[in-house]
């Protein structure tokens, strides 16, 4: 590899991380505190990493918990080619803010660079678990799966392709890196507990990130084209089969339109039904849980009702330890015999806790409200 292409690789890599940073800034930046951060970002852009580090450290000295500042710090370490430090920062960040997908994603990129594909995979699966519509993570995960598959095949078939394997890996990294052009997930309404953001700012979409103007290889161009669609409707990404076992939510769908405040009358009944559903889930009371769904419930991916019930049974009743599901800040819209409830679902089980936005569509059936659709969005 020539020095030129090496540096190009680095630039792309940085762009990718930066694009993620911008996404994060848009989603979570608190204008009151963020005054120093654009400066840090400018310094990063100019390659003045020690100065950027100084600024970000100063910024963090008064707000040591700040997610945005710490994220940029991880980014600077990455730029300075200190992957161990960068990994430490992103790891800690992901522990403190498990609901943010970006630290997981960047951890994955760093692991992938070190050819630790298993760790990269775990990180990406976490990113998707916390944020089911995170397109970049899906794509990166696809690449990591392919890489892991290729490693497994090498072992299975003793393919002595050490040379081509190396090429493969570099190509993969470039692929991971060039995902930056595709725009990030749509900024989502963030739960108050999730980040330091006190208010949700209307934001320009990050799709317009400058990277798109960058000349890319043909292969990458195709990928970008494919993902532009995916960014608009991220649902059809490769289904995370492995993660599905632990993920309480079905397939991801795009961010929702704002819901209107609902009329008060039926709201109580609908909320009661939703809370009963969450309680049944927490108690692992399968009869009550499954009873909360309408007989014509839209099962995810069109599986049969029976298969779906079995799957739920396995994941709920078949799960060791306690489960706790709570419904937070529900917004209810009732329209005749149909009600839409959007809420934060806090899910806790052994080895996994997650908070996600969920939308249930309920239909009135006699005196009951039954779930007709269940979407994580």
């Amino acid at each position: 590899m020539t020095p030129t292409s090496l540096s190009q690789t680095r630039i792309r890599q940085l762009k990718m991380l930066r694009a993620v940073a911008i996404g994060l800034a848009i989603g979570f930046a608190a204008p009151v505190f963020a005054d120093n951060l654009p400066e840090v970002q400018r310094l990063i852009k100019q390659g003045q990493y020690p100065q950027a580090m100084e600024k970000v450290d100063a910024y963090l000295s008064s707000r040591p918990k700040d997610a945005q500042g710490r994220f940029l710090k991880g980014l600077i370490y990455t730029e300075m080619n200190k992957p161990a430090d960068a990994i430490a920062v992103f790891t800690k960040l992901s522990e403190d803010y498990p609901e943010l997908p970006e630290p997981y994603n960047n951890l994955a990129v760093l692991y992938a660079q070190q050819k630790q594909y298993d760790k990269a995979r775990t990180a990406l699966e976490m990113a998707i678990r916390t944020h089911p519509s995170y397109a970049i993570a899906y794509e990166n995960l696809g690449d990591v799966y392919a890489k892991l598959a290729s490693q497994a095949y090498d072992k299975a078939l003793q393919l002595d392709n050490s040379n081509s394997a190396t090429q493969n890996k570099l190509a993969l990294i470039r692929d991971l890196i060039t995902t930056s052009g595709k725009g990030n997930v749509k900024p989502q309404p963030v739960p108050a507990t999730a980040a330091a953001a006190p208010a949700i700012q209307p934001a320009p979409t990050p799709v317009a990130a400058p990277v798109t103007t960058k000349p890319t290889t043909q292969a990458t161009a195709t990928v970008i084209a494919a993902t532009a669609g995916a960014a608009a409707a991220p649902a059809p990404s490769p289904a995370p089969v492995a993660t599905a076992t632990a993920t309480p939510a079905p397939a991801p769908t795009p961010a929702p339109a704002a819901t209107k405040p609902a009329a008060a009358s039926s709201n109580d009944d609908v909320l009661k039904a939703v809370n009963a559903w969450a309680d049944a889930w927490s108690r692992k009371d399968m009869k009550a849980y499954l009873g909360a769904y309408a007989s014509d419930f839209d099962t995810p991916k069109g599986t049969s009702r029976k298969a779906w019930e079995q799957e739920r049974e396995q994941r709920i009743a078949g799960k060791g330890g306690k489960i706790s599901v709570t419904v937070d800040t529900p917004q209810i819209t009732v329209n005749g015999d149909k009600a839409t409830v959007k809420f934060r679902q806090h899910y806790k089980a052994t080895g996994l806790s997650s908070s996600s936005t969920k939308t249930l569509v309920l239909v009135r059936s006699g005196s009951k409200w039954l779930i007709k659709e269940e979407n994580a969005r």
Binding site: Y145, A149, Y153, K155, A156, P240, A242, T243, T245
Partner: protein, 432 residues
């Protein structure tokens, strides 16, 4: 995408089951339909064996915890379209055996299925077809073996009588790529008792070795002749090697050539080798060889290799065994009678021993008998093994304790008996 891999593996599974049942119905002379062997009883067979093993003095060294059970579960998960579970199981298996190629192939498929539709087992584009075929063959024979343990009240036809000191016997089925370990159950009159079975590799070009370099595994009755420790061996042989006495007396008489047929382990770069991969040796995984090795007695433990093991019900086995024991005892008694004609009636006209043919042997016996006033013959440590194959041949080995008015002699003797016109006749005898 998942549907495709699913059907593929379903087909694989179906092949396994159908083939297995068809195979077991090959049992000779038995009224019990082989299809009766229910898959569900396999664990029973095994646990019964384990329970019995617990009371045996050798039980502590026997185990058959191969990957078959996990593989079966993986394929069941794939059939049920629970690819996530399948992947978890595969990864657990790989933690146990990191260089298990078949598991790596399945893992590759399961991961690749997450990224794009896959069409076949071993879905990597440009995957070397021969290597994929090898791994597929391994998957098939292992699943088949798992679903079909040997029936509990049937024994391999070959193990007619083990001698007292032979604690275990080994029976290899090359078509099934399986090695069966049987214990000499002396509490039950030396009935062979199934202990465990293991996946094995045999010759690249199959069984029935005839000549040096034909890459085939011999079929016959052998025993281990030495125990070569790992330190003295090339990596190819893995954790140890046990040479067999191929070619034996019968092989030589049939003009079969070649040498160096061993029972041995697996090189360090792989957990297992394909079903047909050796130059004629019988190859176990190292973990299996280590377990089996503890039961091998050099110079004693029989290793009977068949291309397709025949199984007998215990009744039929008893019948064959007592028929042969009576035949052998009649020979012994006729020898004691000093009636040369009666004695020679036990020998085939095709008899040969060393350079001596039947006529020469007969003449010598007549002459010797004329000088005898009495003869006493005792046979100790008798073993009787049926030689696999279509010819009806039985290998009889014993310690012969001979006394007469003018000669006392003790020797270990081996005879090959063949059935000619419905009667068992000695066709070869010599020192063992």
């Amino acid at each position: 995408m998942r549907v495709k891999i699913r059907y593929l593996l379903l087909a694989l599974a179906a092949t396994v089951t159908a083939g297995a049942i068809a195979k077991l119905s090959d049992k000779p002379g038995d009224a019990k339909p082989a299809g009766n062997l229910p898959t569900a009883s396999s664990p029973l067979v095994r646990s019964a064996a384990d329970a019995l093993a617990a009371t045996s003095p050798f039980s502590s060294v026997v185990s058959d915890s191969g990957p078959e059970e996990t593989l079966a579960r993986i394929f069941a998960e794939i059939e049920a379209n629970r690819l996530g579970n399948a992947l978890q199981l595969t990864e657990a298996l790989l933690r146990q055996h990191p260089n298990y190629r078949l598991a790596n192939l399945i893992k590759g498929d399961l991961l690749l299925a997450k990224t794009h539709p896959i069409q076949t087992f071993g879905a990597l584009s440009d995957a070397p077809a021969d290597k994929v075929a090898d791994l597929r063959a391994e998957a098939l024979v292992r699943l088949k073996a798992y679903r079909e343990k040997p029936p509990v009240d049937f024994v391999p036809r070959y193990l007619l009588q083990m001698e007292q000191d032979q604690h275990y016997a080994i029976v290899v089925d090359t078509k099934r790529s399986r090695l069966y370990l049987y214990e000499n159950d002396r509490k039950h009159g030396g009935r062979p008792r199934f202990v465990a079975d293991y996946y094995v590799t045999h010759g690249k070009l199959g069984a029935e070795k005839l000549a040096e370099g034909d890459k085939k595994t011999p079929v016959g009755v052998y025993h281990v002749t030495a125990n070569l420790p790992k330190q003295k061996l090339a990596d190819l042989y893995g954790s140890g090697a046990f040479p067999l006495n191929y070619p034996n007396e019968w092989d030589k008489r049939q003009g079969r050539g070649g040498s160096g047929i061993w029972l041995h382990g697996t090189p360090s770069d792989t957990f297992a080798r394909p079903p047909r991969a050796s130059d004629g040796c019988v190859v176990l995984t190292n973990q299996d060889l280590d377990v089996v090795a503890k039961n091998l007695q050099v110079g004693l433990t029989p290793v009977i290799i068949s291309d397709s093991v025949e199984w007998l019900s215990l009744d039929d086995w008893n019948k064959e065994r007592s028929e042969l024991n009576q035949t052998i005892d009649a020979w012994r008694a006729d020898w004691e009678s000093r009636d040369t004609g009666r004695f020679l009636s036990h020998y085939s006209k095709r008899f040969k021993s060393g350079e001596q043919n039947f006529d020469e042997f007969a003449a010598q016996k007549k002459q010797v008998n004329s000088s005898k006033e009495w003869i006493k013959v005792k046979l100790n440590n008798l073993s009787v093994f049926r030689n696999p194959g279509k010819d009806e041949v039985v290998v009889v080995t014993f310690e012969q304790d001979y006394h007469s008015n003018n000669l006392d002699n003790q020797m270990k003797k081996r005879q090959y008996w063949v059935r000619e016109d419905g009667k068992w006749k000695i066709i070869y005898e010599g020192t063992a």
